[in-house]
């Protein structure tokens, strides 16, 4: 009897350890995370719609029916990434996520002059290189310095009513997500 009680106690302690281990390892081994589902659909540096706009199931959990969104994956180890979009939408916002889907940086259209979306994501060391010789194409860009390698960039666009759908689609589908050499 004593032995059984002892076994139950050890079992509970073990359950605690398993709980902590599973919890901490889950982010590393999850295949259903945002990166995984985006990787199934599109290559790096290819912006895709992640909402139900194209009649397909949403790629990531993006519930708000009044928003459309587009995302692309990038790898800063290959160089900075330049994101540009033009169009007229009532509100847009951008989030940069790291490989495991954590939001590392975000801003919205109020952060830019005339609401144009033009920004460069790069690491601090790449920023030093860029400062030495500013490329012509970066003249009007916002620089976002993040200390990550692989990452996801997502642009959300507000669609107040169906008449805005076309404008939002155009804004998101013309979005460029290009690697700068």
């Amino acid at each position: 009897m004593h032995k059984l009680l002892y076994a139950l106690l050890v079992g509970l302690v073990g359950a605690g350890i398993v709980h902590i281990v599973v919890l901490l390892l889950l982010p590393q081994f999850s295949e259903r995370d945002a990166w995984g589902s985006l990787a199934e659909t599109a290559d790096l540096y290819k912006a895709v719609r992640v909402d139900e706009g194209n009649g397909v199931a949403p790629l990531v959990r993006l519930e708000d029916p009044l928003f459309s969104a587009s995302a692309c994956r990038f790898d800063l180890d290959d160089g900075p990434v330049h994101i540009k979009a033009t169009g007229n939408v009532p509100f847009w916002s951008v989030s940069i996520f790291n490989r495991s889907g954590q939001n590392v940086y975000s801003f919205n259209d109020r952060a830019t002059e005339r609401g144009a979306l033009d920004f460069v994501v790069l690491t601090p060391s790449q920023m030093i290189e860029v400062r030495k010789a500013m490329p012509e194409s970066y003249q009007r860009s916002i620089f976002v310095q993040v200390q990550i390698g692989e990452g996801i960039m997502m642009v959300r666009s507000f669609v107040p009513d169906p008449t805005w759908k076309e404008a939002a689609s155009e804004f998101l589908e013309k979005m460029g997500c290009t690697k700068e050499a």
């Binding site: 059984l4 079992g11 073990g14 709980h19 999850s30 989030s95 996520f97």
Partner: protein, 194 residues
């Protein structure tokens, strides 16, 4: 000898089943650490950021969430009305009260699996502040239900449990520490279809 083997098996099965099930349960619950509760509304300001607790991090990875950033907005979820009863799609509710400062907000209903409750055939099941009708003395009132209502109507359909999601965009409550001090609208049940 056999006794030792059985006891070892007991220890192992309790550990693995108990540990796994407790993680699963903890991730399913909408409570958890890092939650800010205001009235019936719950928000997770640190969800999906680097300072989130391990439970939020595991949830983000498991469900493939790409959370709203602090410069984007903050979502509040309500699963119960002011009397503590579960929100049902076949009931009508009045959502009334102050809305904290934000550039705009959106409100919609979702079923327990996270799918948006459609608003019927012709109507989107969501409303936002740009199309919001304000009453005299700045009273804010939203009627949510399956039957059309005057003023601000959030159309619902179907039956079963649901939750309301109220998201504030470009708002100081998401970026500051002020999320705990704000006042949010109250949800009152006005009636149910039999």
């Amino acid at each position: 000898m056999l006794k030792t083997v059985i006891l070892t098996l007991v220890v192992l099965s309790i550990s693995i089943v108990g540990g796994g099930a407790s993680v699963w349960y903890a991730l399913k619950a909408n409570e958890g650490m890092g939650a800010v509760r205001i009235g019936q509304w719950t928000a997770f300001p640190s969800l999906g950021t680097a300072d989130a607790d391990p439970y939020s991090k595991a949830r983000v990875a498991r469900e493939g969430i790409l959370a709203l950033g602090r410069a984007e907005g903050l979502t509040f979820t309500a699963e119960r009305d002011a009397n503590g009863e579960v929100l049902l799609r076949q009931c009508s509710y009045e959502i009334q009260g102050p809305f904290p400062p934000a550039r705009f907000w959106t409100l919609y209903a979702a079923d327990p699996s996270g799918k948006v409750v459609p608003g019927g055939e012709q109507r989107l099941g969501a409303i936002h502040s740009y199309q919001f009708l304000r009453f005299t003395e700045n009273a804010n009132l939203i009627s949510a239900g399956r039957h059309p209502a005057p003023g601000n109507w959030l159309a619902l359909s179907g039956s079963g449990p649901m939750r309301f999601l109220l998201t504030f965009f470009d708002t100081p409550i998401a970026s500051g520490t002020g999320a705990a001090d704000i006042v949010l609208p109250t949800i009152t049940k006005t009636g149910c279809d039999a």
